[in-house]
């Protein structure tokens, strides 16, 4: 696997990032959270704003774009809005789009891809549980409704309950994750939730799907993110230092997924191990070399799974690992330094990429991971796992 992926190392760079004003857009004039279901934005408004900012960040114009990945948007409508006739297009989560854009650039289909996501989920009052759940891609999200089973949060509650039963992981240990991410968000002026959270406040918050509490759940907010991915030899002499895509991996643990077997029997570690065996050798690094880490965090539990699955700690020891500030800025492995989807913005994998790029560019002030050279993102949605490693390149 190493031999087959190695030629793709560092052939593309992230040259521009753009995000909308998550914090500002979340608050009404009185400073309180805007109501769900009151349409202030649509997804295209947010995506357009993020695209413009990413192009400005890179110092490029739309005429430089010859490939387009869209997420939560119609590719045709987005292209039309932005006056683009792409030579290649794709769609998916951030990691999938970056991997596929790399392959398209490597194949010579295009040189400069805009990856654009927009989600007006608060304006539209998008439901992630109950009778209004839509979409058939993941059967377990809707199949057990007759028994009253619904919501991705409840599926992760089953996951954490199993982890508790097998390993004795405590709710207080899990709470360290939400507390750490909130601490990071407090250093991020664009984070939706910046008010400090103590472990006592975490434990006093109501259960949603026990054993998960309010602060184990991500936000529901409006936003957009755009990334500009460019062939590395064309990435020099732009406005920003190019950040290299140095490694990636992809594996999906789908056998008996609706039964929840990989979720409850292996905690998706089968997929994690497959991805780890691709991403680290390709980038030529090990978990020890990772300076800043981000994981998909629709729920706090994701971090336990990815830390154990990618070998940062032993299986079952994630609860102990996240204690004592180890995952906080200044700790051994700072995780989700923007505040993540729990506290910065629920951009479904997209907001993690600008943060890792910024950490490698440097200059983030109090949020900066000193001397960051290697950044890793782990994506795991119901066992559909991918990972990316970014570096500053040669």
């Amino acid at each position: 696997m190493n031999g087959r992926l190695a030629p793709l190392k560092d052939i593309v760079a992230i040259v521009g990032v753009g995000e909308t004003d998550y914090a500002k857009d979340y608050r009404g004039s009185g400073g309180q959270a805007v109501e769900k279901g009151v349409a202030r934005y649509d997804s295209y408004t947010l995506a357009s704003r993020a695209l413009k900012r990413a192009l400005d960040d890179a110092g490029l114009t739309k005429s430089d774009i010859d490939g387009l990945c869209t997420a939560n948007l119609s590719g045709e409508r987005a292209s039309e809005l932005w006056g683009l006739n792409p030579r290649w297009s794709g769609s998916g989560d951030a990691a999938q789009c970056i991997i596929e854009a790399t392959m398209a650039i490597n194949a010579g289909l295009c040189t400069t891809v805009a990856l654009v996501y927009g989600n007006a989920q608060r304006s539209m009052d998008t439901a992630y549980g109950g009778a209004r759940v839509t979409g058939g891609a993941i059967t377990s999200y809707f199949y057990y409704a007759p028994w009253g089973m619904t919501s991705q949060g409840a599926l992760y509650a089953l996951f954490f309950q199993r982890h508790k039963l097998l390993y004795g992981t405590t709710e207080e240990q899990l709470g360290a994750i939400a507390v750490a991410f909130r601490k990071h968000a407090g250093l991020n002026p664009n984070a939706v939730m910046q008010k400090p959270l103590t472990i006592t406040e975490y434990l006093n918050a109501p259960y949603i799907a026990e054993p998960l509490r309010l602060y184990d759940y991500c936000l529901i907010n409006d936003g957009g993110v755009a990334l500009i991915v460019r062939r590395a030899d064309m990435a020099r002499d732009l406005r920003q230092r190019p950040i290299m895509v140095s490694g990636f991996g992809w594996s999906e643990e789908n056998v008996d997924a609706t039964q929840l077997r990989p979720r409850l029997k292996s905690f998706y570690h089968g997929a994690h191990h497959e991805v780890a065996a691709q991403v680290y050798p390709m980038a030529g690094v090990t978990p020890n070399d990772v300076d800043v880490f981000a994981t998909y965090d629709s729920f706090s539990v994701h971090l336990l799974a990815s830390l154990e699955g990618f070998g940062f700690c032993k299986e079952g020891e994630g609860g102990a690992f996240v204690q004592g500030g180890r995952i906080e800025l200044g700790g051994e492995l700072p995780c989700n330094t923007s505040g993540g989807m729990l506290s910065e913005s629920y951009m479904q994998s997209w907001n993690h990429q600008p943060e890792l790029v910024r950490q490698l560019r440097g200059g983030l002030g109090s949020r900066q991971v000193a001397g960051a050279e290697v950044a890793q993102y782990v994506h795991d949605v119901a066992g559909k796992c991918k990972s990316l490693i970014y570096t500053k390149g040669a």
Binding site: W147, G148, L165, A209, E210, P211, Q259, L260
Partner: protein, 137 residues
């Protein structure tokens, strides 16, 4: 009137599964070639890709793997608190269900629960819902 429940996801195989419940029979597909039990129902065996299968009546016992209690209401038919349990059936498949005649506090990892039935209906019709309770219940 049977108890209203959130609507079932339906396809030709699910339709057959739910039809058996009208006679209070919990039947899962077993591959006629390699004998693997599968759930949820579907057209092929994921182990050998055979489309030959039998609807086997299962023993109706399984061991508790995990559970969660909803403290927020998602379905009007299931006001909180509502508990859901995941069992590993003797035949192999994992099965999401509702624990009955036992409080969530009494659930234990590896505890054996046994099949019970309760009624149900949605806009697709009436059926019986397989739920699970204590062995000596």
């Amino acid at each position: 009137m049977a108890t209203a429940r959130p609507v079932r996801a339906m396809d030709p195989y699910a339709e057959q599964f739910w039809a058996f419940t009208q006679a209070r029979e919990l039947r899962l597909q077993q591959c006629a070639d390699c004998r693997k039990f599968r759930w949820p129902p579907g057209p092929t065996c994921d182990r050998c890709l055979s489309d030959n299968f039998d609807w086997r009546r299962i023993r109706g016992t399984g061991k508790v793997l995990s559970w969660t209690t909803f403290h927020r209401g998602y379905f009007p038919e299931y006001p909180p608190p509502h508990t859901v349990v995941v069992l590993e059936l003797d035949e192999g498949p994992l099965f999401v269900s509702v624990p009955v005649e036992i409080s969530p506090r009494e659930l234990r990892e590896g505890m054996t629960l046994a099949l019970r039935w309760t009624d149900g209906q949605d806009r697709l019709g009436e059926y019986n819902l397989p739920v699970f309770g204590p062995m000596n219940g």
